[in-house]
């Protein structure tokens, strides 16, 4: 029994790792005022590039670095379109998800079904690093000048600009940072969690990460709780297969997301949603 519980905890921690990384990144992007619905696309690109680079070089860590770069580059595209060109952030993020899923599907075709030779263990440094990052990112956001600059950019870009903050630069950095985090999250899937590459292997985790961002109230520390909760839920959906139809179980995390959003969102406004979230900002324009 104890062993059962222990494996359950380990497996749940493993699933929550990519959720945590991706949502931490999204929290920073959204805190700066840019919503990025492309998490799923950035994650799948990270998964593919991590697998390919890890397989070719033999170093899973090199794969993770490649994943970070791929995610960051993908986010750069979203940043350019939504910040510089001031296009609709929702649509740009959706386009990024389509493009990422499509590119990974096309480029990854030859790599399908090959097991990774040098895989990382399921609970690797990434899990602990993710927890440390959550604390670190919370400290930066709430107790440093940099954090204040990021938050003011997301709350009131015009006021931030008046105080000498380069709004566009801050937003670019936060969005690209979010992309690298999502990339690593995807890379974790293909070099540690399920050391192989399969098309569509992110299977909606990117969207759950976005949901965690919302009901964690854009707070890195609360995102830890959200990620653990959904990690446990995903694990449970594998564990209960003997009693419940597998389709109902696989549906569970998604149905729960709606429930949790409904339960936490409520009518309580101002739970930390950045005031200028989703609004393009043009310097000097009203």
């Amino acid at each position: 029994m104890l062993e059962w519980i222990l494996t359950a905890i380990v497996r749940a921690l493993a699933v929550s790792t990519p959720l945590l990384w991706a949502s931490l990144g999204e929290i920073y992007a959204e805190r700066s005022g840019v919503i990025n619905l492309g998490v799923e696309g950035m994650m799948i690109l990270g998964a593919l590039f991590a697998f390919v680079v890890a397989q070719v070089t033999g170093y899973p860590v090199a794969g993770l670095l490649a994943a970070a770069a791929a995610g960051g580059l993908a986010a750069l595209l979203h940043a350019f379109v939504s910040i510089t060109l001031r296009a609709n952030q929702y649509v740009s993020g959706l386009a990024l998800t389509m493009l990422g899923l499509g590119l990974a599907g096309v480029l990854g075709r030859g790599w399908e079904g090959i097991p990774l030779l040098n895989a990382l263990p399921e609970i690797s440094g990434l899990t602990y690093l993710g927890l440390l990052l959550a604390v670190g990112l919370w400290l930066v956001l709430h107790h440093t000048r940099l954090g204040m600059v990021i938050r003011s950019t997301g709350e009131s870009p015009a006021a931030a600009e008046a105080l000498g903050v380069n709004v566009h630069l801050v937003r670019y950095l936060c969005v690209v940072f979010g992309g690298t985090m999502a990339g690593v999250a995807g890379g974790f899937l293909s070099v540690a969690y399920r050391p192989s590459w399969t098309e569509g292997m992110t299977a909606g985790l990117g969207w759950i990460a976005i949901a965690i961002t919302i009901f964690a109230g854009w707070d890195p520390l609360k995102a830890v709780g959200g990620a653990l909760f959904f990690g446990a839920l995903f694990h449970l959906s594998f564990r209960l297969q003997a009693w419940v139809p597998p389709e109902a179980l696989r549906m569970m995390p998604f149905a729960f997301t709606i429930l949790v959003l409904a339960a936490t969102s409520g009518r309580r406004r101002g739970r930390g949603a950045p005031e200028a979230l989703g609004l393009p900002y043009a310097a000097g324009e009203r």
Partner: protein
């Protein structure tokens, strides 16, 4: 005022139709050039690839109708999204609403005692209601609890997907399916007429065009249509005008999700004649319909054209799969790039070029 050669660059508030069309076509052309890089990375000469796609779609008499067949679900779902987006409701759940429509109409086709001539109409009604019902929960959550509809409608897509999986593996699994995961086939009376020699279930297409026309009329003339427009464009003004956002958005979303449900009816009653794996019922029409609606820029009639264009991309996907050995996913690359270039070029809509070669002298004289 800026100049570009003999042109002067001016700001405009409302761009002309021709300018919108020119920018849209330019964006699509740029996206196709960018997609060419993918072919090149795949070791295929992009020009040759496009030639093959053209020969296998538009230029092939037997393949060209496939564009219409792909356009039918895209048009229905896309027209629905036009309305939702006009009301500023971010319905990303057309995919799930389409599946819900397919499920509801399958239920009617297989398990209802409705006699032959009324069976298909009943299936369409059920499909509309099924889709609308699927869109209801996220709508109510947004209106009552301010739950972000992007996330909730998207989550409903996954719930729909696994519900269909469950139905075809469990309670609705066909007795004649021999271990395969799909339902029994529909009776003859539950199948849509096809244009002979094609897979074009024309009644769905006609329905889509009629719906687009009706919506265009409705948005322009009816009171509710006016309210939806005001609500979408200026919520504050809508409040002062006494427009009830609850009722308005609820009705707009019922239509939007219902239309996507109709698309699902067309797929099961026109093509497959059974309910099968969600990835086969819809090739991602619900997501591509977002592009149909965005490209149509809020105009339901324009959605007819943009649905045909997206239909062309989907049928190109088949050609790329067969002739170029690329995965069907390549359509997502096209869709993503087109969407990026489309929204990226929107800023250009607010400028216009005016042929004014003589102004240059005046300007230099001023300086």
């Amino acid at each position: 005022m800026k100049r570009l050669g003999p042109f002067s660059v001016e700001r405009v508030l409302v761009p002309s139709g021709a300018w919108v069309l020119a920018i849209s076509l330019g964006a699509i052309a740029a996206a196709l050039v960018a997609a060419g890089v993918i072919f090149w990375a795949f070791g295929i000469n992009p020009l040759r690839a496009y030639a093959i796609i053209f020969a296998g779609t538009l230029a092939d008499r037997r393949a060209a109708p496939e564009i219409l067949r792909q356009a039918a679900p895209l048009l229905l779902a896309g027209v629905g999204l036009v309305l939702a987006f006009r009301a500023q409701f971010w319905n990303i759940g057309a995919e799930g609403q389409l599946l819900a429509g397919a499920v509801a109409s399958t239920g009617v086709a297989l398990f209802s005692p409705i006699p032959a001539p009324w069976l298909l109409p009943a299936m369409f009604v059920a499909g509309f209601l099924g889709g609308a019902l699927w869109g209801l929960l996220p709508t109510l959550l947004r209106l009552k609890l301010e739950v972000n509809e992007v996330v909730s409608t998207l989550m409903m897509n996954y719930v729909a997907l696994f519900s269909v999986e469950w139905l075809i593996h469990g309670p609705w699994k066909g007795k004649t399916a021999f271990g395969f995961a799909y339902t029994d086939t529909f009776p003859e009376a539950a199948r849509l007429a096809l244009i002979p020699g094609t897979r074009v279930h024309w009644p769905t297409l006609v329905l889509g065009i009629a719906l687009a026309g009706a919506l265009a009329f409705f948005l322009g003339r009816a009171r509710l249509g006016f309210e939806i427009r005001v609500l979408g464009e200026n919520p504050t003004a809508a409040r002062y005008a006494g427009i009830d956002p609850f009722r308005t958005i609820l009705l707009a979303m019922a239509f939007s999700a219902g239309a996507a449900g109709l698309a699902g009816v067309g797929e099961v009653a026109g093509i497959h004649h059974k309910l099968l794996a969600p990835g086969q019922v819809s090739l991602g029409y619900g997501y591509a319909a977002i592009i149909v609606a965005w490209l149509a820029r809020g105009n339901p009639l324009a959605a007819i054209l943009t649905a045909l264009f997206l239909g062309l991309i989907f049928s190109s996907g088949d050609v790329m799969k067969v002739s170029l050995q690329m995965p069907f996913r390549v359509t997502d690359v096209f869709n993503g790039l087109i969407l990026f270039f489309l929204i990226g070029s929107e800023r250009l809509l607010n400028y216009r070029l005016r042929w004014a070669p003589g102004d240059r002298a005046a300007e230099t004289a001023d300086a």
